[in-house]
Subunit: 304 residues, 4 copies
Amino acid sequence: MSGILRLSHAEVRVPDLELALAYYSEVVGLVVTHSEADKAYLKGWDEHQHHSLVLAAAPTYGLNSLAFKVVERSELDRLQDRLVAAGISTSRHEPGELGEASGETVRFLAPSGHTIDLEHGQGQVGNGLPLLNPPPAPDNLVGMHPPRLDHIFLLCEDVDAITAFFTDVLEFRLTEQIMADDGHQLTTFLERTHTPHDIAFLTGPDGGFHHLAYWVDEWNDLRTAADTCAYHGIQIDAGPTRHGATRGCGLYFFDPAGNRNEVYTGGYHFDPDDEPTTWTEAEMGRAIFTYKGQVQQSFMSVHS
Amino acid sequence: MSGILRLSHAEVRVPDLELALAYYSEVVGLVVTHSEADKAYLKGWDEHQHHSLVLAAAPTYGLNSLAFKVVERSELDRLQDRLVAAGISTSRHEPGELGEASGETVRFLAPSGHTIDLEHGQGQVGNGLPLLNPPPAPDNLVGMHPPRLDHIFLLCEDVDAITAFFTDVLEFRLTEQIMADDGHQLTTFLERTHTPHDIAFLTGPDGGFHHLAYWVDEWNDLRTAADTCAYHGIQIDAGPTRHGATRGCGLYFFDPAGNRNEVYTGGYHFDPDDEPTTWTEAEMGRAIFTYKGQVQQSFMSVHS
Amino acid sequence: MSGILRLSHAEVRVPDLELALAYYSEVVGLVVTHSEADKAYLKGWDEHQHHSLVLAAAPTYGLNSLAFKVVERSELDRLQDRLVAAGISTSRHEPGELGEASGETVRFLAPSGHTIDLEHGQGQVGNGLPLLNPPPAPDNLVGMHPPRLDHIFLLCEDVDAITAFFTDVLEFRLTEQIMADDGHQLTTFLERTHTPHDIAFLTGPDGGFHHLAYWVDEWNDLRTAADTCAYHGIQIDAGPTRHGATRGCGLYFFDPAGNRNEVYTGGYHFDPDDEPTTWTEAEMGRAIFTYKGQVQQSFMSVHS
Amino acid sequence: MSGILRLSHAEVRVPDLELALAYYSEVVGLVVTHSEADKAYLKGWDEHQHHSLVLAAAPTYGLNSLAFKVVERSELDRLQDRLVAAGISTSRHEPGELGEASGETVRFLAPSGHTIDLEHGQGQVGNGLPLLNPPPAPDNLVGMHPPRLDHIFLLCEDVDAITAFFTDVLEFRLTEQIMADDGHQLTTFLERTHTPHDIAFLTGPDGGFHHLAYWVDEWNDLRTAADTCAYHGIQIDAGPTRHGATRGCGLYFFDPAGNRNEVYTGGYHFDPDDEPTTWTEAEMGRAIFTYKGQVQQSFMSVHS
């Protein structure tokens, strides 16, 4: 299991932790695994590890950090060496040091201005189903109840540079890119899991956070999620719709703090020897939203 | 990219190649990439490599061989060394030597009696969509048109032994198992792609072939596939239904030669540190078919 | 609004009323509107009238009666006259006389041995949504929660005769029929709502009850219903599958007393000037279950 | 079969008949039943009657007329009498007089400025399936291929008046209404088929045409329809999304002439004794588009 396995979790800021916790547990339907005064830990129902979302009480909304899962401890060392060789400062953290159930972690600040953790050995809590003769699903799921985290979408000024960093140093593979007419990358989609993206970068301010996406299994689940938003008065930003890039389908909406969420499904399998897909700037609207063929202002301007 | 990436393809015997080719291209809706006197090569529409199914004219039905994809050439050497160290005879084949578009290959006979290839560098043909500003799908898909191969289900006498071989030598991970009351493994599910299974073994005759499964995206696609069978008079064996093991949903049916096919969807993500699920012999019916809770005779007895 | 509007409700016998009530409210997800010592009244969540199912405590399972809704009071008189003219004994019942919220009713024993009510003015209770600015659905639905009743399937010895009675006297229209090789009708499908069937008759013992079917909106709901059965250990008889006759899709299962239930979706619009469809006896298996092409023994033999 | 059965067909103007015919047959996937120099006749694949859409070559886009189906010839007379009694001028037309396969027709100009036909006995052509042992669907369907027409949405200045006319004279039932703060009806939904609407009126210019909607069976069909639009470069106006009023789901898009089309699914059964639902002007956005909670400018301003 060389290198990074997958996106593990993200720590997101919310001014009203209690409200955010109610939203993420009852509307999104995540499972709360631990809660303390200024932090709460949640996961998709079918995730076995302790958390895929950490809510941190803070005056503003936005992203504190994101983490990738590394299965082999020796790979943590190897990746830390690659980071150091690339001129990146790293810090090393013992299990439990970075929060409840946290594993051994290499932390660094990416050139895009995002704090990134490579984590080995986060605590496992199981998915709520017995390991002997289980039913297909637990009986107590509420709201959208996505089974697991899928991807994260960030912003930074130099998408070309961060894409090179992710492919060269962190060994991600480029699946799709939207190219500006001047030859720069406007948006790039990068994977470690042979899906269309585990992380993507959109041109914008350094350290910017566009959305965190949970997986759902089918197009019907997107309607259920949208109905859930409608029922609870949650503001929908776009969808249910299909993306041109990734060919997946998604629904965008906002948590009470203003962080954008997505539930996402579909996409494709990507082999390491498959060729990336390129979108021209003129077709960016269709690359993001296939059906409308254009991106509403809010999608580009509202982020943190 | 250490070790085996995924199931690559299978070579299946058919007495009437022309009839089989019509069935697999028009009913299943695979894409024919090459055809010669006694062999034909097909793939799911969204696969980029040359083939995931090879049809070989032969007096009987059944499986000639299956192949796993290895991305790094150096990993071919390493895996060959592991096989040799485990006392397995291997042969090495140059690109093109084992058939149209075949890559560099290590071939061996597994203890289960199946001929297995580890292949690096099979020819790539693309998925029929342009690499610049593509539409969501080609416009000329027919029949069930699954996008890609998913898994293969084999039989052998000693499931414990082949499972140990696949985990110890080929570095697969066990996701689920059906245990006989006497402590032996009746069925095991093994993965390299973090899905519920890339290959599974059921107790039966050595070298036996139960089914080859293509992926479809949603439960609705299983109904479309079943309607397609009904329209063309194709014999359905079971489904659409849900499996207990893998939690996926599938439809089983037979090609004109008698080889069992499945279209499959669903399942879950499996991390290397997740625990396998165990089914008892008493619950085997539910492990295979959740809804009926029992396995019809044909499912266990009809294979090759 | 001339004649019969639609199937209104059925009264079904259950030996253990408490158990049946738990099943129909928690597993099927019907809404209980009234309950007394030996009777309980339930409805699909989106039905506005008081009940579509009445459970009656009794030593055996089976059907006590079924009822059709008549919108105009004057049509009750006209239909009663038609029954009398056809030699059928009828009785007339005041609102409330035949049970909680019952409307004015003409009751008769059909030639098939079934007690049938024509009811005008059953009590209305609403569908649980406000009449001002409603959300798409209530938030407290559990189990399969079908929105409404769809059809009933009965048995009798002389299907030709009961079909003639339903078309000639009760003004139903024939949509489909399965013909025996000897020229008799084996099964007939009859409608008042321009759907494939509101009632159907299968050859069998007089007064026999095959199943009561609730509507669900989509194929996905049938999987949810099957998962619900699996979770609660409810015995599934067949499906999810497609019927040849009606072109609809359904799932069959049994209540704890042994009465067969169906959840059903699909079908088509049938105009009064459309031609009925005919199935031959040789194709009866496909007429019932398109995918298997055969009817399992239990489907024909298990009824009341 | 008293009164109007259902919406039968609409005649729509298109400047380029050949282009419109290509669009409606290949993209929408309607079946062409007759075509002449300046008119073409089409139907949904599962409709048995000759046409549900007539395309008429004309310099502009918009609606020429709409027609309701009347099953009983005597009901034509009765409805004509009601129209005359209401002060409406009517004309009577023999079969074939108003176009290919047209039935006996009462034509009148509604107070809303729309030409409306009540038609009895349009020619029947069947749905393309055999009447003996049919498969579930024809094998030659292309594009969105909706099975049948669902409803029509018109504009007029005085929605209160046309609603009263449709309920009082034509015996429609009101299912939902959006009320202006000043007490007038902004939008009304009217039915004859026990569905949420066969016709609806929105405040706007007299004689205005908002959209014609075909039925599809499921939410998944809306994604297929949207993918079809994307593939063919057809402009999507809104959706796939859910409506608050009718609770149905739909996709809006434009034909090459500028006429708005919808494919629609869902909704509910409406009994004649059910209460209508009311939406306030403040909630009109949610009544039209539940998920966005607002109506884009184009939806209100673009019509004919």
